[in-house]
C-alpha cells in the first residue's frame, strides 16, 4: 500500500507539473468549446421558450464532450514526445497507480473545461423568464466526466502508437461514451424542466450515470494494466 501511495503521489505531482508547463494543452480545449458554443448559438438562435432549456443542455454538453475529447486524446502527448512512456514501462510502476495518477490529472483538467464551458453557456443563454444556472446540472456534468475520463484515458493509451489517431480516436470515443452523454443530458433535462427530486433521479438517469461511471472506471483501470505490463 505504501508503495502504491508513494508511486501515486510521485506520478500525480509529476504529471500535474508537466501539464502546467504547457498551458496550451489546457487552453486549446477551452477555446475550442467556446468556439463550438458560439457556433451552436448562431445555428439555434432565436429559440422558442419551450425548447430553450433543451437546446441549452444540448449545446453545453456537446461542446464539453467535443472539447474533452480533444484533451483526452492528447493526454499521453508529453509521455510520447521523447518516448518517456516506454521508459516508464521499464520502471514497472504499479499499473493502477499509473492509471489513477493520469486519471486524477485528466479529471482536474476536465473540471476546468466543464466549468468554463458551462459558465460561458449560462452567460450566452441568459433569459428573463428562465434561469439555466444550476449547481445540480454542474454536478451531473462532473459525474459524466468521471466516466468518460476513464474511458478516454484508456483509449488514449491504446492509440499511442497508432497511425491516424486523430480520426480513430473520435470514431471510438463518441460511440462508446453515448450512454454517458444520454444519461447526462436526460438527467439535466429532468432537473431543469421537471424539477425531479434527488431520489427520483437516483432511480432513473442519475442512477444510470453512476452505474456507467462505475463500469467504465473499473474496466478502464483493469484493462490499462494489460496495456502497460512488461512482456
Amino acid at each position: 500500500m505504501t508503495t502504491f501511495l508513494r508511486q501515486l503521489t510521485s506520478l500525480t505531482t509529476h504529471f500535474i507539473r508537466v501539464e502546467l508547463a504547457n498551458l496550451e494543452r489546457l487552453l486549446s480545449p477551452i477555446l475550442f468549446s467556446t468556439t463550438i458554443l458560439i457556433l451552436f448559438f448562431f445555428a439555434f438562435s432565436p429559440m422558442d421558450q419551450e425548447v430553450f432549456v433543451k437546446v441549452y443542455i444540448a449545446q453545453t454538453f456537446l461542446s464539453m464532450f467535443f472539447a474533452l475529447q480533444i484533451g483526452f486524446a492528447r493526454i499521453f502527448e508529453p509521455d510520447d514526445q521523447d518516448d518517456a512512456f516506454t521508459l516508464l514501462r521499464t520502471y514497472k510502476p504499479i499499473p493502477e497507480a499509473w492509471f489513477l495518477s493520469k486519471y486524477i490529472v485528466i479529471t482536474l483538467f476536465g473540471v476546468l473545461v466543464i466549468s468554463s464551458t458551462m459558465g460561458l453557456s449560462i452567460f450566452f443563454n441568459q433569459s428573463i423568464n428562465i434561469s439555466v444556472a444550476s449547481w445540480s446540472v454542474f454536478l451531473v456534468a462532473i459525474l459524466a466526466l468521471l466516466g468518460i475520463a476513464a474511458l478516454g484515458l484508456l483509449l488514449s493509451a491504446m492509440m499511442l502508437k497508432a497511425d491516424a489517431k486523430q480520426i480513430l480516436y473520435p470514431l471510438l470515443y463518441f460511440p462508446l461514451t453515448t450512454p454517458v452523454l444520454l444519461a447526462a443530458v436526460q438527467c439535466s433535462q429532468e432537473i431543469l424542466i421537471n424539477n425531479m427530486s434527488l431520489s427520483e433521479l437516483l432511480s432513473s438517469w442519475l442512477g444510470l450515470l453512476l452505474v456507467f461511471d462505475a463500469i467504465y472506471i473499473i474496466l478502464s483501470t483493469l484493462l490499462f494494466g494489460e496495456l502497460v505490463k512488461s512482456e
Partner: protein, 227 residues
C-alpha cells in the same frame, strides 16, 4: 482439397439460409397491418441477432483469450468475428431502413436496436482501422483485445440506454416488442432463420479465419525465404 472443403462449407451455409427464407416466405401468414413486406423481418432480425449476439460473443471470448494467452492466431480469430459482425450489422441497417420506409414512411428511426447496430458498425470499423494502424506484435494483440472487450461490454449498455431514452420519447414499436404479439408460425420461422443465420455466420467466420491464418503463414514463409 482444403479449398474445395471451404467452398462446400460456404455453399452449405448459403443453402441453409435459402431454406430458412423459403420456409419463412412459404409457410408464414401475411401480417394484418404490414402485409407481405413484414417478411423482411426474417432477414433483419437474424442479421441483428448474429451481429449483436453471436459475433459480439465471439469477439468477447477471443478478446479475453487474447489477453490471457496472446497469440497472432487468437487475434485473427477476433478479427474474423469483427469482419463477419460488420457484414451482419450492414445487413441489419439496410434491411432496417427498408422496413422502416415501408412501415413508417421513413428510412431511419432512432429505435434502440437500429441505433445500437449503427454504433456497433462504427466501432467494428474503428477496430479494423486500429488493427491496420498498429505494428504486428504482442502489443497489437493486447490493444485489439482490450478494444474487443470494451466494444462487447459497451454494446449492451448502449442498447439499454438508447432503449430507455426511446421509451421516454415514443411508445415501443413492433421491433421493440419482438415476438410478444407474433403469430406462432411467424415466431417459429423467425427462430429457424436466427438459427440458420447463426450457422452461416459461424461458417463465414471459419472460412475467414483460415484465410487470415493462410495469409499470415505465407507472409512468415516469405520472410524466412529472404533471410
Amino acid at each position: 482439397m482444403r479449398e474445395s472443403k471451404d467452398i462446400l462449407a460456404g455453399l452449405i451455409g448459403l443453402v441453409l439460409v435459402f431454406i430458412g427464407w423459403w420456409y419463412a416466405f412459404s409457410f408464414t401468414p401475411v401480417d394484418a397491418q404490414q402485409g407481405a413486406v413484414y417478411r423482411i423481418i426474417y432477414i433483419h432480425v437474424p442479421a441483428a441477432a448474429s451481429a449483436l449476439g453471436l459475433c459480439s460473443l465471439g469477439l468477447l471470448v477471443t478478446s479475453i483469450w487474447g489477453l490471457l494467452k496472446p497469440s497472432e492466431k487468437i487475434l485473427q480469430a477476433s478479427r474474423s468475428w469483427v469482419e463477419v459482425g460488420l457484414i451482419f450489422t450492414t445487413i441489419t441497417l439496410l434491411t432496417g431502413s427498408i422496413w422502416g420506409k415501408s412501415t413508417w414512411g421513413t428510412w431511419w428511426t432512432w429505435d434502440a436496436r437500429l441505433t445500437t447496430t449503427f454504433l456497433l458498425a462504427i466501432l467494428l470499423l474503428a477496430y479494423l482501422l486500429l488493427y491496420n494502424s498498429l505494428r504486428q506484435g504482442k502489443q497489437r494483440i493486447r490493444i485489439c483485445s482490450v478494444l474487443g472487450i470494451l466494444i462487447c461490454v459497451d454494446v449492451p449498455i448502449i442498447y439499454k440506454s438508447v432503449s430507455w431514452w426511446r421509451t421516454l420519447h415514443q411508445p415501443s414499436s413492433i421491433i421493440e416488442q419482438g415476438g410478444r404479439t407474433m403469430d406462432p408460425a411467424m415466431y417459429n420461422a423467425l427462430l429457424l432463420n436466427i438459427f440458420l443465420i447463426a450457422i452461416f455466420s459461424t461458417l463465414l467466420w471459419m472460412i475467414r479465419f483460415k484465410n487470415l491464418r493462410l495469409h499470415d503463414q505465407m507472409t512468415q514463409d516469405s520472410f524466412e525465404g529472404v533471410s
